[in-house]
Each structure stands twice: as C-alpha cells, then as structure tokens.
C-alpha cells in the first residue's frame, strides 16, 4: 500500500510537470500579450515594449520556461501581472469560496441522488422508477447557465427570497449550489438506481430476505452499501472537477471562486495567475483521484489498485 502511494506520488510529480508545461505553452502560444492589455488601448508601442521588458516577457521562450520551472520547484509562482499580488496566495484566497460551493453542491447531490436512486432501484420498472429516470435525464440535459438564470428569475426576482449573486452569507450559497448540484444529482441517482437494481437481484439479498430482515434493513444494509462504491468514484472525480470547473455557475452568480478567477486571468493574459491556479487545481485533482482510489479499494476488497492505470 505504502509503496503504491509512493509510486502514485512519483507519477504525480511527472503529471504536475506535464500539466505545468502544457499550460505554460498554451498561454504563451495564444495571441494577445499581457503588456498591451495591462496598458489598455491608449498605449503606444514604446510603452508596451517597455512593460514587456519589465515583465521579463521579452526573453526567449526557453529562458522563460526554464526560469518558470525553476520557480515552480521552489514553489514560487511569481506575481499576478494585473493584480500586482503574489499569484499563489491570490488563488488560495479564492479557493475557499470554491470549496464551499463544491461541498454544498456535492452534499445536496449525494443525499438527493442516493435517495432518488434507492427509490427507483428498489423497484425497477415501477412508476417511481420511471419518474426518477425521467427527472434525472431532464436534470442532466438542461444547460447549467440556463438553469442558473431561471433560478435567479424565480427565487431572487419574482419571489425575492434569495439573493441573486455574490457571496457573503450562507443564503448566497443556495442558488449556485443547487444549480451546480442538479446535473450531478442525476448522475448519482442513475448510478445508484442501476446498482441497487442489480444488487437486489443478487443471491445474497435473497438470503438476507429469507433470513427475515426487513426490506428497509436489506436496502440500507446491503444494497446501499454496495451502490456506494461507484458513487464514491464519481463523487471524487466530480469534486476534483469542480475546483476549476464551476466556471459557468460562478459567472452567472458572481461567485468569487477559482473558476471565474481563471477565466478572467486567461482573458487578461495574466500568465502568472493562470499558471498558479491551474497548477494548484491540477495538484488538488490529483490528490482527489488518489484518495478516491484508496477509498474505493477499502470499500470493495475485490478491487486491487493497479498502479499502471
């Protein structure tokens, strides 16, 4: 186990180097340069050249790359060009907002999704099953930004019971968290349904029933436990994915998370900030994946971790 974790971590270092390089390349290949956007349309070419030199962006690409790698090894991510602050602390500042959103939406999705999945999976083909299937397909199909704006119109504008945008109080969390949770609820529900339905046909469930366990005990004791395994996997992947992937929702609700930070940073060609943010997120995603695999193997002893893939 320890050896495995060490091996995964070593691979992780390799992956982080790759991720850092991919982003370094993409942002620099992209047209538009930081100096001209910092100075604005009023600038003349002399000012732009001057600022480019001050930012160190006039050096050859490989020099920039090597010094960037050197800095990364020392965990120094430089400054955000535009904000003038150190890049990594700025990203970390935003991370808590994203984490809040991630946890809230995941909690909603898991609880509601498991419930719906259990209901549907216990009696495949029943009315409940079909209703749940229909709901989950629909939830997965509506564009997120669309749902978000609709929720604003309903709950903030028409009913006036929830704030429309921004962060600050737990009330602000509800709409973005629900918007983000909806499609994932559907994923959890469908996954749970399939697994519960399959498990309920297994011989050991019949055994449990014949031993006189109540349906509730069978369901919670056996079926649910088994269905948790795939759910843990998707939850892990999903939580990692939300670290920078809640962009659209963050945009709609003006949620000050990492996703909107990255979108702004990309459009401002704020190389330092893009690099710091993506590096951090890549690291977090990697840890999530590792933990997911470990939990997975604990839940289901049949699965042994295969280091190669």
């Amino acid at each position: 186990m320890i050896r495995l974790i060490v091996k995964r971590l070593l691979i992780g270092v390799l992956v982080m180097w790759g991720a850092a390089s991919v982003i370094f390349l993409i942002v620099r290949v992209a047209p538009g340069d930081p100096a001209s956007i910092m100075l604005g349309p009023d600038a003349d070419s002399e000012q732009i050249a001057d600022l480019t030199a001050r930012l160190g962006l006039d050096k050859p690409m490989y020099v920039q790359y090597l010094s960037y790698l050197g800095d990364v090894v020392r965990l120094d991510f430089g400054d955000s060009y535009r904000l003038g602050t150190a890049a990594m602390p700025t990203v970390l500042e935003r991370l808590s907002a994203t984490a809040e959103l991630m946890l809230a939406s995941t909690a909603i999705a898991v609880i509601v999704g498991l419930t719906l999945g259990l209901l549907a999976g216990a009696r495949p083909g029943s009315i409940t099953d079909r209703v749940v299937s229909a709901i989950s397909i629909a939830l997965q199909s509506f564009p997120t930004f669309w749902v978000g704006i609709m929720l604003i119109l309903i709950f903030a504008q028409a009913l006036r019971i929830l704030p429309s945008a921004g962060a600050g109080s737990p009330l602000h969390l509800i709409l973005p968290a629900v918007t983000l949770a909806l499609p994932f609820t559907a994923v959890v529900a469908r996954l749970t349904r399939t697994n519960v339905a399959e498990t309920m046909r297994e011989a050991y469930i019949q055994t449990a029933r014949s031993k006189g366990l109540s349906e509730r005990q069978v369901l919670l004791g056996h079926a649910l436990r088994n269905s948790l395994i795939p759910v843990v996997t998707v939850v892990g992947l999903h939580m990692g994915g939300l670290m920078g992937g809640a962009v659209v929702v963050e945009n709609v609700f003006a949620w000050p998370g990492t996703g909107s930070l990255i979108v702004d940073a990309v459009s401002n060609r704020d190389y330092g900030l893009v690099q710091a943010a993506t590096f951090l997120i890549a690291g977090i995603v990697m840890v999530f994946n590792l933990v997911t695999d470990l939990v997975y193997s604990q839940l289901d002893p049949r699965i042994r971790l295969d280091g190669a893939s």
């Binding site: 629909a138 564009p143 994915g241």
Partner: protein, 294 residues
Amino acid sequence: MTATLEKSPAKAGPTARKRPGRRWTRWIPYAILALYALTGGIGPLLIDYNPVYTSLPDRLLAPGSPVSSGATAWLGTDGTGRDVLAQVVYGARTSVLIGLATVVVSCVVGVAIGTLAGYFRGWPDMILARGIDILLAFPAILLTIVIAGAFERSVLVVVVALSATAWISFARVTRGVALSIRERAWVDAARVLGVRPLAILWRHVVPFTAGPVVALATLEFALVVLAEAGLSFLGIGLPNSAVSWGQTIANGKQYLATAWWISAIPGVALSLLIITIGILGDQLTARYGRGHVR
C-alpha cells in the same frame, strides 16, 4: 460490476421489453433525432436566413408578430430583429455539425490511441496513461476554456478545444476492449500466422470496440453540444457569423425578463435534443454494455 452485467440480462431482462405497448416507444428517440436531422438538413433550404442582415424596426417582437417584410415571425425576433425560427433551424445544423465533428475527431483519435496502447501495452500504453493523467489533471471544462479563450473565435478552435478532452473517454474504453481482445484465441492465431499487427488491429480488434464506442459517442455528442452552448455563453465560443443555439441563447440572456423567447426557444430545442440523446445513449449502453473503463 462487470460480472453482474454479464449474467443479469438472462435472469431479468429489462422490464420494458416485456410490455408489448412499450415496444414502439423505443423508436421515439430515433424519430426525434430524424426530425432534428431533417430540420437541420432541409430547413435551411426552405427558410432563407443570413445573420448579417438585421432589421431594427422588427427587433424584440413576440412570437407570432408580423414583421415589416409582411411575413410572420412565428417564434419572435431577437435584439436586432432577426427571426428566431430561422436561427433555431440554422442553429440545429451548426450544433449538430459541431457535435458530430468533435465526436468524430475525438472518436478517431481516441480509438486509434486506445487500441494501440491496449494492444501493444508496454511503452505506448505507458505514454497514453501519463498523457491522459496530465490532461485529466485539469477539469475538462477548464482546459477547454483555456484553449477556447486563448485563441480567436472560430469553428475550428471550438472543435479542437472540445476534442482536447473528449477523446480521453474513447481512448480509455477502447484500451480496455483491446486489452481483453488481445488475449483471445483468434488474435493469437492471427499473430502466429504472421498477420501484421496493424492488420490484426484493424480486422480483429477495432470491430469489437464499435458497440461501446457508439454508446459513448451518443453521450459525448450530448455533452459536446451542451459545452458549445456554455462556451458561447461565456463569450468564448463560436464567432458571430456562425448561427448556433449557444449563440442565440447567449444573445438573449439580457432579455430573459422582457423577451424570453430568444433564449427560451433554442434552449428548449437544445434540451430536447440532449434528453433524446440521453435516452438513446441509455438504450445503446444497455444493449452493448459500457465497455471496460479500467
């Protein structure tokens, strides 16, 4: 999970199939898809629309209003007086084409890489695994946004940005299939007979990936169409000259309270298509199994 999949159908086939009345409903998704294909394929021939031409006196008209040219805007007009119906019809074509292009690109790339890695194992597999790890280190949408946001808006950039992560699922699935197929007797036989590896791959391995790949392709198609709309919403999607649902929805977002039809109608068209594909994907997955992810 794989084990249960293999033995369960015999014992308890899908309940739906037992009901005689439900059999024809299986074709509904195909019928809807055909309708979309017809609309996207033939609609543009019947309805004349050029996104360049605006008609300001007709802007923000409600569905069913007469326009200055004497015609009727059955689905209303947008902020520059262009017909929403025409945008839905032309948008169907764009969205479907973008979806297809992305799925085809990522499918070809994914299947090629996946089968090679799964069949040859060793260092190709190693490179694939690490490459996937690197790409998966970012949330898929993030990489898409960085690519799409960094380059000038064009159809090509959108397809590339969406394919950048979409091929991964194809590669993983086909790799799994290839891994199991390469151990089969007939593959061994072919190897012993001296058939060249690429020919073996093409004749004996790739065909077996078709089922899961088709199932996956439908789901990916839905995701891609949704993602394109999301990119357009963020303002980093298709160029203005392209008519797509994402564009129209994004254009109408500031009118949600006053002229709901601009966003609502393409939104419904989009959601219906995604729902249909979702159902279809489920059916295909149920039939072909979902392949071996690991």
